[in-house]
Amino acid sequence: MDITLPILILAIPISMFLILGIGGVKMSRKTAGVLGILGMGTTLTLAYTVAFTYFFSGDPAFIVDGVRQQLQVFDVTWLAFTDTLVVHLGFLLDPISAMMLVVITTISFMVHLYSWGYMEHEPGFQRYYSFLSLFSFSMLGLVVATNIFQMYIFWELVGVSSYLLIGFFYKLPSAVSASKKAFIVTRFADLGFLIGILLLSFYTDTFNFMELTHNPEGVLASTGGATFMGASVLTWALVLIYVGGMGKSAMMPLHIWLPDAMEGPTPVSALIHAATMVVAGVYLVARMFPVYLMEETALLFITCVGAITAFYAAVVACCQIDIKRILAFSTISQIAFMMVALGVTRPGLHDGMGYMSSMFHLFTHAMFKALLFLGAGALIHAVHSNNYTEMGGLRKYMPITHWTFLIGCLAIAGIWPFAGFFSKDEMLTAMFANNWIWGAWMTMVAGLTAFYMFRMYFMVFWWEENPHYKEHKPHDAPWQMSVPLIFLAAVSCVSGFIPFGELVTWNRLPYHIHIDPQVATTSLIIAAFGIGLAAWLFMKRNHKPAAMKNAMPGLWKAANRRFYWDEFYMFVTHKIIFNIFCRSIAWFDRHVIDATMDGFAKVTQKTSVAVKGMQSGSIQAYVVWYFLGAVAVAAITWICLL
C-alpha cells in the first residue's frame, strides 16, 4: 500500500496542532475553527479511503483466501535500546486498526464540527482546536501502532491530551483538579503497563505486535517457565499490561478519574471519554489477544474485573443526578461489557465470537455514546446546568435533541433494530457460551442499563417542565451542533446491520453472524422491563422515586457517592502518602540529613570555642603546653615502640 495516505493521516493532525498551537494566538476564531475542521475533514476522508480500500478492495495485499492480512505500511526505527530491542514507529493496517481509524476520525470530525457551535463563546477557542488535533493525532498513532512500545508512546500522548482538554477551563479549580486526577490515575496504571512491557520484551526480545501475535506459543516458551509468586511470568506481564488498559478504560478500581473528567467541555467528553480514548484498554487487549489466549488466568482476571465494574457502574449510574456523570458511568459499564466479552472469548466457543462482538460493540457504542454526550451537550448548552433537576419536559422545546437522544437511549438499551441490540446480543451469546454465570450477570447489567438510561431520558424530557423556562426559553442548538446529532443518530439506527463478522474477527477469518433467539429474547425482555420500570417511575411527576429513595436512604446515598471510592483514594493519597510519607520524608530530609550536615559545621564551631582556652595569653601556660606536648610526644612514641 502506498504510504502517502497513512503518513498524511498522522501528519495532518499533528501539523494542525502545531499550527494552531503556535500560530493560534495571532489567528481569528473563525480561521482556527475552519482550519481545524478542514484538517479533520481531510483526515476523515483519507482514513475512510484507507479503511474502505482495506476492507472492500479485495486486493491480495489485504485479503488472501478469505484471511484478512496484517501489514505494516511503514515501520521506521525510532530508538534502538539494544541491537534486537528496537523501537519502531509505524503504521499497522489490519481489521481492528482500520475500524478504529473510521471510528476515531468520524467521531473526531463530528466533535470538531459540533464544537464550532458549542465552544463559540469560550476564550481559548484556538487552543481548544489545537488540543483536539493533538488528541486525534495521538489516538490515531495509538491504534495504528506496529509495536507495543509505540502504543505506549501514544498511550501517554493521549493521556496528556486528555489532561489538557479536561483542564481546558483552567480557571476553574474543579477542572484543574479533575484533569490532574485523570492524568495521575492513568499514569499510575501506565506504570503497570510499563512494567508489563519491560517483562514481556525482556523475554521475547521484541516489541512488535505481529511477531508477538503470530507466534504466541513462542512467547510463552521464551519465558522458560519462569514464575513469580505462584503465577507465570507471562501472566504477570499480561496482567500488568492489562492494568494499563484498566487505567485508560476506567475499570475498577482505577475508574475514579472518569466521572470527574466530565469537568471538561462536553464535546471532549464525547470524543475522548466516551468513544475513543477510554476504549484504548479494550483495543490493547484485542491487539494482544492471541498472546492473552496463552494464559487463561489473565483472561479470567479481565473477565472478573469487567463483570464487577459493569455492575458497579450500572448501579451508581442509577443514582446520579448529573447527566454527564450518568453517561460517564454508563460508559464505564459498557466498556466493562466489552472487556468481559473479550475475557470470555475462546477459539472453541462460537469461533471466538466474543472478540468480534466486543469490537462490534466498541464500534456501535462509540457512535451512540458520542451521540448521547453531544445530546447532553446540547441540553447543557440550553439550560446551563448539568443536573437533570434543572431540566424536565424539554421534549417540546428541543425536538431534534429529544429524538436523537431517544435513539441513543434505545440503542444503548439494546432495543431492536438499533445498533446496540446487535452488538450486545452477540456479546451476551458469547458470555453464555463460556459460562452461564457471566451471561446471566451481564444480562442483569443490560437491564440496569436500560433502566438508568431511560430514567435519565424521562427526567430530562418528560417529568415536569422546569419553571425557569419562562425566563429563559431553551431551544435547539445551532446547525453545527445539530448536524452531528442527526448524523450520529442515523448511524446508530443502521450500524447494527453492518456485517461486522465479515470484517473483524480474532483470527481475521470471516464469521457469519446469526442471532441466538433465546439470548435475544431474554435481553429484549429485560431491556423492555427496565424501560417500562423507568417510565412507570419517572414519566410523570410523582412521589414514587422519592419514596424509593427514602426507603433505602443508605444505599441511595452510597450509590450517589459512588460507594465512597473517591473518599477512599483521597484518604490513601492525601492522608497516608502525602501527609505521612511525603511530609515525613521532607521532615527527615531537613531535620535529620540536612541537620547532620549542618551538625558537622556546628560541632566544628563548638569545638573551636571549646579549645580557645589553650590560647590563654599567658607565656607560662604556653610553655606548659609546649613542654607537656613534647613530653607527651616522647612518651607516646616510647610506649608505642615498646
Binding site: A80, F81, I184, I195, A586
Partner: protein
C-alpha cells in the same frame, strides 16, 4: 597545541574573561556583546564538533577518543594536559554550550556588578568545558574544582534568600566531596601502571589495568562518593535544595544543567571505567543509595512549596536516576544515563530559567501565593508546562526517551535485587507526575491569587530566546533520539569490555 579544536573550548572562555576584563563595569552593552559573541562561538564550535565527530565516526574512525592531544605539564609526576573526546563528551560539550548560551540570555539584566558576574560565569564555563575535554585525571580534577568555586560568589553575591548560608553550604559540601575524590585519584595514580610508568591518562590506566582488587574497592568508594556528592546522591544531596533556591537564574541553570552532570560523567568515566572490578562487586551499595535518591527526592518534592526547592528535589531524583543507571553496568542503561544527563540538563535549565523569570516578576517563589499565571503570562506558562511534561516523561520530549532507555537497560538484570530497584525507579515517574502537576495546577492554572499579578508582563525577547533554545533542544532529543544513540554507542564498547573482563 592551538591546532587542537578541543583546546579552544577552554580558550574561548578565557578570551571571554579577558574581554570582560577590558570592559568597564558600567558599559552593559560591551559586556553583553562580549558574552553573546563568545557564547555563540562556543555553541557554534560545539555544534561543529558534534557534526565533525559524527562525520569521522561515519568515516570509520574507530579510536576510543578522537581529537586526542597531550602536552606534558608536570613531567616529574607525569601530569599531562591530555585532551580527547568520545561521543559522550561531545554531547556533554554540546549540552554545556547550549546552556551557557541560554544562560547568557537568561541573565541579560543581571544586577549589580554585571562584569564580575560574567567573569565568574566564564570561569565556571572554563571549568566545565575543561572537565569534559580532559582525559587526564589530574587536569580533569583541576577543571572540576575550577567549576565549583565560582559558585560561591555567584550565589553569595547575586543570589536571593539565605544566600550566604546556602553558598557556604554548597561550596563546603561539594569541596568535601572533592576531598574524597582527590584521595581516590591519588590512589588511582599511584597504582596506575608498572613502576616507572605511572600515568594520569585515563586511556593508559585502563589499558594497563593493574590496580589490584583490594585497592579498587577503596578507590571506587572514594571516587564514587566524591562524584556522587556533586551528582546529589543520597545522603549527600542537601546542598542542592538550599543552593539552588538561593542561586541566581543563570547559575541555577548552569549548576543543575551542567555542573551536576560532572558528577555523573565522572562516576562513569573514572569510578566505573578505571575500577571495573570494584564496580562489579560494589555497585549494589550505590544502587541502594541512588535508588533511595530517586524515590526520596521525588517524594520530598511533593510537599515543597518553594518552586526552586521543588525543582532541586526533582533534580535529586533525576540525577539519582543517572547514577542509578550508570551502576546498572549495562550498555543500554548507560546510554540511558547519558540521555538522562542531557535531558535533565536541558529541562532543569529551562525550569530554572522560567522560575527565575517568574520570580523576577512576582517576587515570590511560594506556590501558595501564586495562581492562574497562565492567564497573565501565557508564554512563560506554556514553557513551564513543556518543561514539566519533559520532566514527567512525556513522549516527544527528552525525559521519556532517557527514562525508558534506563528502565529497559536496567531490566536486563534478572535478579530480584536489581528488578525491585528498577521497579522502585519506575514508580518515581508517577510521583514525578504528581508533583509536577501539583505545581502546574497551583502556579499556572486556577484563579489568579494575587491581584497585583494581573499587571505583570509576559516574557521579553531575550527571555524568549533563551527558553526557545532550550525547548528546541529538548524536543529535538525527544523526537529524534536515535542519533544520540549512534553518537555514543561506540563509547561504551571499551567500558563494557573492561567490566566483562573484570567480572571473569
Amino acid at each position: 597545541m592551538f591546532g587542537n579544536i578541543l583546546i579552544w573550548f577552554v580558550i574561548i572562555p578565557i578570551i571571554m574573561m579577558a574581554g570582560l576584563g577590558v570592559c568597564r563595569n558600567s558599559s552593559m552593552n560591551a559586556i553583553r556583546t562580549v558574552m553573546t559573541v563568545c557564547s555563540t562561538a562556543l555553541l557554534g564550535l560545539a555544534i561543529w564538533l558534534c557534526v565533525d565527530f559524527l562525520g569521522l565516526r561515519a568515516a570509520g574512525e574507530t579510536a576510543e577518543m578522537l581529537y586526542t592531544g597531550s602536552w606534558m605539564w608536570y613531567a616529574p609526576l607525569n601530569i599531562e594536559l591530555a585532551v580527547g573526546v568520545d561521543g559522550i563528551s561531545v554531547l556533554m560539550i554540546l549540552l554545556s554550550a547550549i546552556i551557557v548560551f541560554a544562560g547568557v540570555f537568561a541573565s541579560w539584566k543581571i544586577n549589580p556588578l554585571p562584569k564580575n558576574f560574567f567573569l565568574w560565569f566564564a570561569l565556571l564555563s572554563t571549568g566545565v568545558f575543561g572537565f569534559f575535554i580532559s582525559i587526564d585525571i589530574f587536569t580533569m580534577f583541576m577543571f572540576y574544582e575550577v567549576a565549583l568555586i565560582p559558585m560561591y560568589l555567584l550565589i553569595g553575591v547575586w543570589g536571593t534568600g539565605r544566600k550566604e548560608y546556602s553558598a557556604m553550604k554548597l561550596t563546603l559540601m561539594l569541596m568535601g566531596g572533592s576531598a574524597f575524590l582527590m584521595l581516590g585519584l591519588l590512589g588511582i595514580y599511584w597504582h596506575s601502571g608498572p613502576e616507572g610508568h605511572l600515568t594520569w591518562n585515563i586511556l593508559e590506566i585502563s589499558k594497563n589495568g593493574c590496580i589490584d582488587p583490594s585497592w579498587q574497592r577503596l578507590l571506587f568508594c572514594l571516587t564514587f562518593v566524591g562524584f556522587g556528592v556533586l551528582g546529589a546522591m543520597f545522603p549527600f544531596h542537601t546542598w542542592s535544595p538550599d543552593g539552588h533556591a538561593s542561586a541566581p537564574t543563570a547559575v541555577s541553570m548552569l549548576h543543575a544543567g551542567v555542573l551536576m552532570k560532572l558528577g555523573g560523567y565522572g562516576c562513569f568515566r573514572i569510578a566505573i571505567y578505571l575500577l571495573p572490578q570494584a564496580a562489579n562487586e560494589l555497585a549494589w551499595i550505590f544502587i541502594i543509595l541512588t535508588g533511595i535518591s530517586v524515590v526520596y527526592g521525588a517524594l520530598s518534592a511533593c510537599v515543597q512549596t518553594d518552586l526552586k526547592y521543588i525543582n532541586a528535589y526533582s533534580s535529586v531524583s533525576h540525577c539519582g536516576m543517572v547514577l542509578f543507571a550508570i551502576l546498572m553496568l549495562t550498555q543500554t542503561a548507560m546510554t540511558g544515563a547519558i540521555l538522562q544527563m542531557l535531558s535533565h540538563g536541558l529541562m532543569t535549565a529551562l525550569f530554572f530559567a522560567l522560575i527565575g523569570m517568574i520570580y523576577g516578576r512576582t517576587h515570590t517563589r511560594d506556590i501558595r501565593q501564586m495562581g492562574g499565571l497562565m492567564k497573565i503570562m501565557p508564554y512563560l506558562g506554556v514553557c513551564y508546562m513543556i518543561a514539566g511534561f519533559a520532566s514527567l516523561g512525556l513522549p516527544g520530549l527528552s525525559g521519556f526517551v532517557a527514562e525508558m532507555t534506563i528502565f529497559f537497560g536496567s531490566f536486563e538484570h534478572t535478579d530480584l535485587f536489581h528488578r525491585s530497584f528498577v521497579i522502585a525507579g519506575t514508580c518515581s515517574i508517577v510521583i514525578t507526575a504528581v508533583y509536577i502537576l501539583r505545581v502546574v495546577g497551583k502556579l499556572l492554572l486556577g484563579p489568579v491569587q494575587d491581584e497585583h499579578h494581573l499587571q505583570l508582563t509576559d516574557a521579553s525577547w531575550y527571555e524568549r530566546f533563551s527558553t526557545v533554545t532550550l525547548i528546541l533542544a529538548i524536543a529535538g532529543i525527544g523526537c529524534f533520539p536515535n542519533w544520540i544513540n549512534e553518537t555514543i554507542q561506540h563509547s561504551f564498547v571499551p567500558i563494557i569490555e573492561s567490566l566483562t573482563q573484570a567480572a571473569i
